[in-house]
Symmetry: C2
Subunit: 215 residues, 2 copies
């Protein structure tokens, strides 16, 4: 398998965590989202992912897009360790956390949106930072409450082993830290994150461990 | 089961389509997202969904949030008719379409974002409409290409029967039409949509068929 990735993309980071948790080795093709006007906009990358986003996962016979879909695929085709719980209701809880991050937080703060705020709306960096932190706070407040009220969390969002929820949570919190968001109001989430990043599987997937990292 | 819904919410519309395709009856609790400063902001609704969004689905023993997670739950617990294909790669294709809509298009154009553009950034309606149509065009261009290149589409996004992909596509195109977006560049998607909305299951889930509809 070949993963189209960018070290700083939190959506690619999610997939890297899942690959890492499952002990899967893949080839990497790095798509630099800032160089050359954004390599995700190149015509040859459109053939890979017409959404012009990373990640994309090349498998035998096709290319998969969207981190949620890719992670579900990897969990179905490489079921050990399972990253979704056994009961349908518990799976819905785990998927809801992943989706809350993937659908309500990250889309508002990714590169293309920040670029639009700057180039089309003419917003300066302080105003863009307010926007960024607003959606982080809105979203994480909700996710913190979802996890805290569930009674399902342990060392991780569900019990004491990682699930898809953690694979989405850790990259989102990394983004929030990069933008200096105040995370004091999310003690459950940050406690899970701080445990997770100590594990070798999460560490190997981190931006700073990638072949295309820039410091 | 009880569905917290708003007739105009395209995320609730997705869940209504899935319920309808599976022939499931639920009780409705309508959350008017514009009245009373937005009923999704009321404290009693926070107890239902801390994300302050619809839909939410109350089941025995809990409340499920996030349309993607709810639709997967309904498909797992009521497998007939199946709304995901049989092979992992095909399921990834269907989920990618649903996720592309749920993660890349709708989050940028929903009520709370349009409200922020207006109240916090002071943008007028024409500028907000440009924003709206920009993300519709970006997203649908990608989804059209994903579906067209797949070789998997028939009457619906995957083959000749509805899947989760169609349950996400139809509400998104309804939104786009409401904002007068030009859809000429998406012939595959609109052909699927126009077939789907003729079917009784999709028609019953449409905004105009809801108990809380306003004209």
């Amino acid at each position: 398998m070949k993963l189209y990735s960018y070290f700083r993309s939190s959506a690619a980071y999610r997939v890297r965590i899942v690959l890492s948790l499952k002990g899967l080795e893949v080839d990497y093709r790095y798509i630099h989202m800032l160089k050359d006007g954004g390599q995700q906009h190149a015509a040859d990358y459109h053939a890979v992912n017409p959404m012009k986003l990373v990640p994309a996962l090349e498998i035998e016979g096709g290319i998969l897009t969207q981190s949620l879909a890719i992670c579900e695929y990897l969990d179905e085709t490489h079921p050990d360790p399972a990253l979704l719980p056994g009961s349908a209701a518990d799976r819905a809880y785990v998927r809801a956390i992943a989706a809350a991050i993937a659908c309500e937080i990250h889309p508002l703060n990714n590169l293309r949106v920040l670029a639009y705020l700057s180039s089309e709306l003419g917003l300066d960096k302080p105003t863009r930072d307010v926007w960024y932190r607003h959606w982080i706070a809105e979203g994480l407040t909700g996710v913190e409450a979802l996890v805290a009220r569930s009674g399902k969390a342990g060392d991780y969002c569900f019990g004491d082993t990682p699930t898809l929820a953690d694979a989405f949570l850790v990259p989102q919190l990394a983004n929030a830290r990069r933008f200096a968001c105040d995370l004091a109001a999310y003690p459950t989430l940050t406690a899970i994150e701080q445990r997770a990043i100590l594990s070798p599987a999460f560490a190997a997937a981190a931006p700073e461990a990638q072949g295309d990292v820039e410091h």
